[in-house]
Each structure stands twice: as C-alpha cells, then as structure tokens.
Amino acid sequence: MALEVESRPAVNGVTVLAPTGRLDVAGAPALREAIGEAVKSGPNKVVIDMEGVSFVDSTGLGSVIAALKQIRSSQGELRLAAPNQQVRVVLELTTLDRVFPYYATVEEALTGF
C-alpha cells in the first residue's frame, strides 16, 4: 500500500501536507520527497496532517525527524496534526512527543502559526 501525499496550497504562509496510508519503511520516501518540494519553493512553515496515516514505524518517524531538521535549519517550524492512537503511542514511546508537540486537528495546528 503506497503512501500518497497531498500538498495543499499554502495559506497564510503555511503549507499543509496530508499523507494517506502507512508511513513506514516503504512509505517514508514519498513524505521525504513531498517535504523537500514544499520547503524548496514555498514557505518554511509546514503542518503534516496525520489523519490519513493509519500506521507509523520508526523509519516513517525518521522521515518526520529529517523534515523537522530541514525546516528548522531555515528558521521554519513543523507541526503535526490529528495523529491516531498508534502514532501517538509511537511518539510517546520514543519520547519524540517532546520534540513534536501534536495538535488534535489541522485547524488547531494552524492557529497562531
């Protein structure tokens, strides 16, 4: 099941990326590519809408960490929105929830961004 990533046009300087499927060792390259495209030509504020992500593994998580480093290197910011229970458990287990404060909805993530 390939990961598909929708890139929504930037509004108020924030790009929203919406992956759908499993963000795992097979799906991570698609997210890396989409984030690379988003920060290359657009604003460096990105929200990843995780609502469509059914499952994440450590490689998928690695692609999000890579994105965070890439975006922060250009003084940008990355926020995660709407992670499901499995994604939240993985973030907490790896203590990456301290690095990625996550928001219940995309609207909440966009507030004050």
Partner: protein
C-alpha cells in the same frame, strides 16, 4: 457465537511491499477472527513491534542473489500472540541491545521499540538463517 481462542496464519514473501502488506493483513485477520476492534491497545502495540521487526527483516534479511523467501507465521493460543519470522540475512547479534537513540537521530529505534512493546523478543542464529520470535499476551 464466542470468538475463537486460537488463530493461525502462515505466509512466505520476498518483496518489501508484499511483505509489509502481508504482516498487517495477518493482524487484521486476527482482529476479525477474535472480535477485536482497531482500538484494541495490546494488539496495536504488537502490530507496531511486528512492523519494526518485519521491516528490518525485509530490508536486511534478503542478501543480494538470494532467492530464499522470508517465512512468517502468526499464532494466537491461550491469550498469547506469537509471530515467527525467518530470514537469510547476516547475523544481527550486535544490534540486539541497541538503546533508544537521541531525538535527532533519524534511525536506529526499531529494535528498542520492539523490545519495549513485547513481553518477549527472541532471536537466534540457526545455521545460515535468523529466527525471530515476537511474544505478547493480549
């Protein structure tokens, strides 16, 4: 009708996408067979660990030139779920005790995650294959 207390699934695969799909499909079949929902936390934790070991096996357990598939079995008996994976990759003893890496690291979390999510993570080198055994009480 009460859900069955036993379940068994077997498969062999070679391709990364096919292998990952098969692992997740097997857990989904276990959910359906035992009347567990997607929100069942223990099974979700097991599936997360299975995804980690499965992706390691599919990534490193298929040496160039090898035509030997990865063998997989999933069983539920007595309230305990056990997954077995056999691959023909190189030995991995030196990676087994790896700790959770620093926040900025982009890899190296898989085995540490699996260890903490399971009741037991077994590994043995048997001749020229690796045998993995993932155990969790549900």
């Amino acid at each position: 009708m009460r859900p069955p207390k036993q379940f068994e699934f077997r498969a062999s695969f070679f391709d990364l996408d096919e292998g990952l799909d098969t692992l997740h499909e097997s857990v989904e079949r276990l959910r359906r067979a035992t009347g567990r929902g997607a929100e069942d936390r223990e099974l979700m934790l097991f599936e997360t660990a299975l995804g980690e070991i499965g992706s390691n096996v599919l990534t490193h357990g298929r040496p160039a030139g090898s035509t030997r598939p990865i063998e997989y079995a999933l069983r539920l008996a007595g309230g305990t779920v056990v997954a077995s994976l056999t691959d023909s990759g190189p030995p991995v003893h030196e990676h087994l005790a790896r700790e959770m890496p620093h926040h900025e690291s982009e890899d190296g979390r898989g085995l540490a995650m699996a260890r903490s999510l399971l009741d037991d993570l077994g590994y043995e080198r048997d001749g020229d294959v690796n045998r993995w055994r993932l155990v969790k009480r549900l």
